[in-house]
């Protein structure tokens, strides 16, 4: 018969710090080093060379030449400009639609749970499916969008001036529910007594929104904006499947072509680093702003 009490036995069965380190932390660190850190450093090395994965010749060290050429290439700046336009349209659209929908759902309405679940469906679909699905919807001959809006044979995807907005619209449709979900969480956390106090003070709806709702939801909305900005900056599949127009050639498509169609490995590594630095810079600005919003 054991003399140990149940608590002591449970404690003896538990894992020591050393076991946890050996079983979980060390493998994770090794995994990160092998699959993240090592390729990152390796590709940084390549970015200073003229290495071509498809070539037989050895690579040469070219210093900052790749970076210099890329930053002086008008096509690359055009790709960055397209990406910036896409990010702004897409993220602003998602915030407006997502937050607006969250405001509407933050009331007592019938079948609120079901409606919320249904609205989340787009973001559960794969990008490839969404791309092909919207390609059919936008079709000028038999697409339902032109039919429903009475636009005749209006060209969405083959019109260079419209294609980017068509891709952004699809992205807004797909990812507004994500913003909506986070906004709903933020809205439901706003204390009710603040609204009651505002009502007693006869504050108008706009005053209540700008003085109570928005400031309190802002931190979580900023998190949604950070995530969506990073994702929009990296957009590839949707633009690639829907159009592949020069006017929708965002920077990740250019990077893909340079790396895997032209096989300019060293140069594409340099471009990847330029993109990485830009995303880090933008995210850093956002995070600083987020901290300021939290401090208020």
């Amino acid at each position: 018969m054991s003399t140990l009490d149940p608590k002591s036995r449970a404690a003896s069965r538990g894992m020591s710090d050393i076991t946890i380190r050996n079983l979980f932390i060390i493998p994770t660190i090794l995994f990160l080093i092998v699959f993240n850190i090592f390729p990152l450093i390796y590709s940084l090395g390549y970015s200073f060379t003229d290495f071509r994965a498809s070539g037989k010749a050895d690579w040469n060290f070219v210093g900052l030449q790749n970076y210099r050429e890329l930053l002086n290439d008008p096509f690359i700046w055009s790709n960055f400009s397209i990406t910036a336009k896409y990010v702004i349209v897409s993220v602003v659209g998602q915030v407006v639609v997502g937050f607006g929908t969250a405001m509407l759902l933050n009331r007592d309405i019938p079948m609120k749970g079901l409606i919320t679940t249904l609205l989340l469906l787009p973001m559960m679909l794969s990008m490839a499916v969404v791309g092909l699905f919207w390609k059919l919807l936008y079709d000028p001959s038999f697409g339902i969008i032109n039919y429903a809006l009475g636009l005749g044979t209006f060209e969405w995807l083959s019109n260079p001036d419209m294609a980017l907005y068509a891709v952004a619209l699809t992205d807004i449709w797909m990812w507004s529910p994500f913003v909506m979900l986070l906004s709903l969480a933020g809205l439901s956390a706003v204390p009710k007594h603040l609204y009651e106090a505002a009502a007693i003070d006869r504050a108008g709806p706009l005053y209540t929104f700008f003085r109570i709702t928005l400031p309190l939801v802002a931190p979580i909305l900023m998190i949604a904006i950070i995530f969506r900005t990073m994702e929009a900056f990296k957009t590839f599949d949707l633009a690639y499947i829907l159009t592949s127009q020069p006017t929708t050639e965002v920077i990740s498509i250019r990077l893909y072509k340079m790396a895997f169609q032209e096989w300019q490995t060293g140069r594409s590594c340099a471009l990847a680093y330029i993109v990485l630095i830009m995303v880090l810079a933008i995210t850093n600005i956002y995070v600083k702003y987020l901290n300021k919003v939290k401090e208020r």
């Binding site: 001959s141 592949s244 895997f260």
Partner: protein, 436 residues
Amino acid sequence: MRRTITGLLAGISMLAYGTAANAQELTIFWAEWDPANYLQELANIYESETGVKVTVETTPWSDFQTKAFTEFNAKGSAYDMVVGDSQWIGAASEAGHYVDLTDFFNKHNLKEVMAPATVKYYAEYPSNSGKYWSIPAEGDAVGWSYRKDWFEDPKEMEAFKAKYGYDLAPPKDWKQLRDIAEFFHRPDEKRYGIAIYTDNSYDALVMGVENAIFSFGGELGDYATYKVDGIINSDQNVKALEAYKELYKFTPPGWAKSFFIEDNQAITENLAAMSMNYFAFFPALVNEASNPNAKGTGFFANPAGPNGDQFAALGGQGISIVSYSQNQEEAFKFLEWFVKDETQKKWAELGGYTASAKVLESEEFQTATPYNKAFYETMFKVKDFWATPEYAELLIQMNQRLYPYITGDQGTAKEALDALAGDWNATFKKYNRPQN
């Protein structure tokens, strides 16, 4: 007992060794299209004759180059042979991805056996070097299909003659091609003039434009000296590009991303009067199961340019042995079988476009389909894109410069081609190509 077990083990290992030696398998990589299915049928015959299983693995055209070169660059042995695009030959041979087939080529006298254009563009690199890297497998070129029933409608014929002053018939030159496209372009009736290649993601748009450039007497550059100034932006090429853009006006709506699937659909779905496509896609147009208008579909070769030059863009591919294959010996045996006259004849019967001159010249081949004769004639008037190792960069640059002009109405043909000449010069300079 010990002896029994040892004997059993020896027997099992011999059996295993014997099975492994006989169960040879070969994998051929190609793009996803009908000729790949025909090649699989041909390979099944090889399996029944030799016991060697040959699998034709395919991938969509848009991924073909990326997937093949990713495997090559990794020195992977997943594929024993590849039916690679003609423009790959420089990149693949210089990088050591393809096995040198010169001895094999000479042993079987394939320079004489295969049609000259197929040897020049699918097999030899560098040009006129006598070094061969592929066996011409699928000959192909761009041709045209048209709605014969629309063309032969008496009312249409009368109206056309009244408007243009000559008889409505398959166009003999690019001016007639334009006139007919304009004549049939009736958006109100959801009927359009012409379907051309516009997809800018690989080589579709470039191959489409090449049909105009070559027939207008132009060239892409001097492939021996890498000179492009005054050639790619020549007056003929400017006029050719303007003519191609003119045709784009008469395409169905949303036609800015179209390749072989859409161009065949233009005929099957009553969208366009004429449609550009590779001959390899024409079997679907004579098949009533895939084309309700099969009986009313006719074919013609790429029309002549203003000065009577008549050329077409080359399609098609040669078959190469991948350097990293573990089964090169067996792959050579397959190629030995593939180049035999009877195999080439069978290949043509299955639907493949043989490159064998003897089969192509035969009456049997030329009368087998409504388009084989046009194909045979076209194969003697083909020209191809650059096959230099940096072809992919040249292709992307050409897309970047021409696509906005053709589909987006941006700038002029001269500006687009001048800019392209600048891009290509810079690329050749970067790779130290001599530009005399």
